[in-house]
């Protein structure tokens, strides 16, 4: 009964030594942990539940992660990378900033990885004060670079006339605020009243970015 759940996996690539099986094991632990932490929060999550969900024994987790906290941090780190990369994605040549924003933000709030994204955000909001490291990590690796990226975009938009003022340069958070609120809404209140996040964001940008049809952009100096 020992190897039962593992046997499907442990043969996968004998060529790559342990690494293939080990990586897959790591991944399933991290995935299971994310789910459990998301459902129950850090303190109320039981290592045993993570292990069961990952299909490994309790002790196995401790082979990879020093303790519950290290596992928690590893999850956040892992989920963070894609965000950072998304934020730094390059503007297509000739593409309006607004188009780029909608194009790159929409996937963040759409189905596929949305739940996972909200999960991380909720975890950070919930646990950051208890784990200062976590807040620091998230700020340094996600928030700060993201903010800079959006500020850069705002500056471009201002320079090419898409934006009429410097608000988004001073407060890049404004560009994202509806997306964030939308994500949180979806996690908390969708069952009571669903929200069309992309549509809301679109409306938001309508206020931000004055209509292009006007030939004259009069008062810029």
């Amino acid at each position: 009964m020992r190897r039962k759940r593992v046997s499907l996996v442990s043969r996968e690539r004998p060529a790559k030594k342990r690494s293939a099986a080990a990586a897959s094991r790591d991944a399933s632990i991290l995935k299971a942990a994310l789910q459990e932490f998301t459902h129950h929060g850090f303190a109320a999550t039981r290592m045993e539940d993570i292990a069961r969900r990952a299909g490994v024994a309790k002790g196995t987790i401790y082979l990879r992660f020093k303790d519950k906290e290290a596992l928690f941090e590893a999850i956040v780190r892992k989920e963070i990378s894609p965000l950072v990369m998304a934020a730094g994605a390059p503007l297509q040549p000739g593409e309006p900033v607004r188009t780029f924003l909608e194009r790159s933000l929409t996937p963040l709030v759409e189905s596929s990885g949305r739940a996972r994204r909200v999960a991380i955000i909720r975890l950070v909001i919930a646990e950051a004060p208890r784990f200062p490291k976590l807040g620091e990590l998230y700020f340094r690796d996600v928030v700060e670079p993201g903010l800079q990226a959006f500020r850069r975009l705002a500056r471009q938009a201002y320079d090419n006339g898409e934006l009429a003022d410097t608000a988004a340069i001073k407060y890049p958070q404004l560009l994202l605020a509806p997306a964030i609120v939308g994500l949180l809404w979806s996690a908390l209140f969708d069952r009571f009243e669903p929200l069309d996040i992309p549509a809301m964001m679109h409306a938001h940008f309508d206020h931000f970015f004055p209509a292009k049809t006007m030939t004259s952009q009069p008062d810029r100096r």
Copy 2:
């Protein structure tokens, strides 16, 4: 952390005739509990710490609240009321909606009760999935009424020409998004980079509310 995850069904003990002393005791328990729950979250908060902070014995808490969950629910209920009332405050006759919004939202994000407000919001974000009743309660008593109030305001603003489109009627969340993001920012990242929330909200409204006639907004520079 201990007792399995259970749904938020328990109620505060029915109050009969409480002396003033008893009421004050209740208040200090609730205050202490709010602080502890805020710092540590539901699961990681210890009843003993609440008791010590409230200056009562552990057993005393159980005279008033059936268990930890009942206490948690009582706190949320108590903190929710002021929010509801704020959201429903009346528009001064002749006052522009934008002015009203800034006048009524600014205090929410300013020092005095800000920390407490964020605390509750963070608690809801963190614990709602574990306590479905909590999410429901918060939606029914805070979010839904608040949303309706803002939608009403948006309609008035649209009717009287302050707003050029119906975005805020369809998505009243847009009016609040910067305030919410600002509050969360202040709790998580102020130590790394402070944020002037009222100024950000002001900039946000600048996009929402097109300047009507120049003459009618005399003093903006």
Copy 3:
């Protein structure tokens, strides 16, 4: 089923507030712990076994002692005191030192508290290297004072002619060695070959203390 085993005790002296019951509880915990530690050593002793033997719940032990180590140290401290006092007991006026030695050492190796005494000695021998504090404590509170006491006795015996040389002043350990070896023997090998410790000590002292009947004690200067 809760209070069952306790009820016999918890009424004892309502006059003395908690102290009587609490002291008795402390005592039974310490007694149980000594027995368990003695049988199994520090590492192999289970807190649950101590609790069961003491007739209390696991958690109760932690109300009095920070952790297993603190409990262990408390035991040693408690058992140490009588030894120290015994070592410092006064010489009766006119009593020969040898008589005093046999009179005061014999009870240490005789039935009543012998097992307990060996238990402590064995624990110290076994665990001291792992708990430097323990060795220090035992040396400072038991060994060093005891050594001084025996050295003082040896000096008296030398001064009044009972001892012919200064060996016991330089090495007071010699006076005790047979008692210690006897105690250890009794714990380890009595079941194979019993040993009459007092008789052995008597023989030992016969070599130490030259017969008194000789009128001349020739060569002392």
Copy 4:
């Protein structure tokens, strides 16, 4: 610490034909195990630490020894043999018993193997009650033969006039007591107060062996 307390019944695996490499591997495992058991005692010693110290994998130990207990027993057996042999060394023709005693006991308490010797003694004292077989083994293979050897010596000494009484015949333990106490002292208290064991033993024998005739002990100064 893990597996319940069990009696010391398991045997070392029957050796068939072992290569030199295998024998050396065995030796390094036993050596490493002795060190670890000595430092931490049986229960607190980790198989992994033994393996690391021996430079083999955890699983390798189990190829040679059924389990932790078998390994423990093998160590004791291995360390016991030299002691037995030492005890049985022959008296030089014409050599006084006292001379022989000091000559053969001194190396036991002197530097080279002292630490290892004390280690074994401490282990026996600490673990014998938990491993009755260990006590039996040690008594049968070390204590009992040693005792007989010393008794034989004592009888010789009595017969040839070196000893004036039969105490050492009845209690051969007396001959060894200072050596044993000295060894234990060195392990526990040397850091507080060093002890010259050979000198102490010498003083001890001075009481045991009355100077016969001055002329017959020419060379003592």
